[in-house]
Symmetry: C2
Subunit: 204 residues, 2 copies
DNA sequence: ACGTCACCTAAGCGCTTGCTTAGTTTCGCT
DNA sequence: AGCGAAACTAAGCAAGCGCTTAGGTGACGT
């Protein structure tokens, strides 16, 4: 194999239930090595279980990926919807939703990497289900842009395309962020909220 | 395995040399399934060779990934530098470089996915070498922003952070783009060039 | 005609994979 | 105390993995 020396730290069972520990372990391994390069033995060892112990809680490795991916998408969607609801204006809504989204992609970059990059490796049915949640995430931002344009606050040519570009900026945070980076997730969130507002503001 | 039915189309040797055919085949397979999920037998079959034929041209699967990754990075860097050199002003330079970069990430989205997402699976030495090219890519945009700020054309608080956000938008194109999408790579490039200019323009 | 060398393949080696099976331990409940 | 279910493990299976080896084949210079 091309990755010969894989150092495996001793298992530290942090979660309370075995199921949670397995998900935490799998997030670390999947985000490090990718879904297909991670073995069920890697995950079991990190969760403090025998290789067979995984299958007590999840019927397959792919189901473990699905559980993680679902958790992540639902968490992100809820954060976005809450931020959007609490905002007094479209400008503020855009700033806080994008800020929240970007902050999450930094703070929980390992979860986010699994959510964003291992998603294509889900089975067909699971992938379809997650796609529905993705559309809702998209709609949160898209609706804010539509409202802002209607109120004359935003200058946007193509709302779906701009929604995509704004979310792209935030999603990509999890690609380059890691724990050694000095900027705090909060400040990254603030910056990206501000950048999003700039993107849709009328040209000076 | 979790991907039981993998339909393998008959090999169509499009490239001229076997080495080129192998790289083309590997780009398709790596971008579809990921580096670790792709077998050397998959690649060989698509290139019209026996499994052992791969090793006549590349010493290992990881070396094949490196060759592809290097090609992609150098191509992207050259396109950026050319676009930057030809531009008459920082505004035009930013528009065309980001536009070119985004267009490439759509047009060659399979190459781009390998370049961006399989990069972490390179061996240590190869990864370090590629990192040097990435810094040059970053510098192209960063230098344009610095010049634009100096000339009073751009309003940017944090040049490295803004460089990163602009490149993020363009890089992320390869995550969602595929051949069924209606927008042409050219129009995506134009849009993203325009969005980049908006991001750095003084607030209205 | 002959040797050379690059290119390519059939066969297979040693190892790892996801997952199963058969059995043991632990725990809540009566 | 005793029991049934749930949690867990040791052992291992069939399949697939990256890569090697030994050998064949055809183009080319001489």
């Amino acid at each position: 194999m091309s990755l010969p020396t894989r150092r495996r730290p001793p298992p530290r069972p942090s979660g309370s239930t075995a199921s949670e520990r397995l998900k935490e372990a799998a997030i670390i391994e999947f985000s490090d090595r990718g879904f297909h390069a991670t073995t069920t033995r890697d995950i079991a060892a990190r969760a403090g279980l025998s290789p067979a112990g995984v299958y007590v809680h999840f019927p397959s490795k792919e189901d473990l990926l699905y559980a993680i991916t679902l958790d992540g998408h639902l968490a992100a969607l809820e954060m976005l919807q809450e931020a959007a609801t609490d905002a007094p204006s479209p400008v503020e809504a855009l700033r806080t939703t994008v800020g929240t989204f970007a902050q999450w992609h930094a703070e929980r970059f390992q979860d986010a990497r699994v959510v964003q990059y291992e998603f294509p490796h889900l089975g067909h049915e699971h992938r379809e289900h997650i796609l529905g949640i993705r559309k809702q995430i998209n709609a949160v931002v898209s609706d804010i842009l539509t409202l802002g344009v209607a109120e004359g606050l935003f200058d946007v040519d193509d709302i779906p395309a701009t929604t995509l570009a704004i979310l792209s900026m935030a999603v990509d945070v999890c690609r380059w962020y890691d724990s050694e980076i000095k900027r705090s997730p909060e400040s990254i969130g603030n910056d990206y909220g501000e950048l999003a507002v700039r993107l849709v503001s009328a040209r000076g």
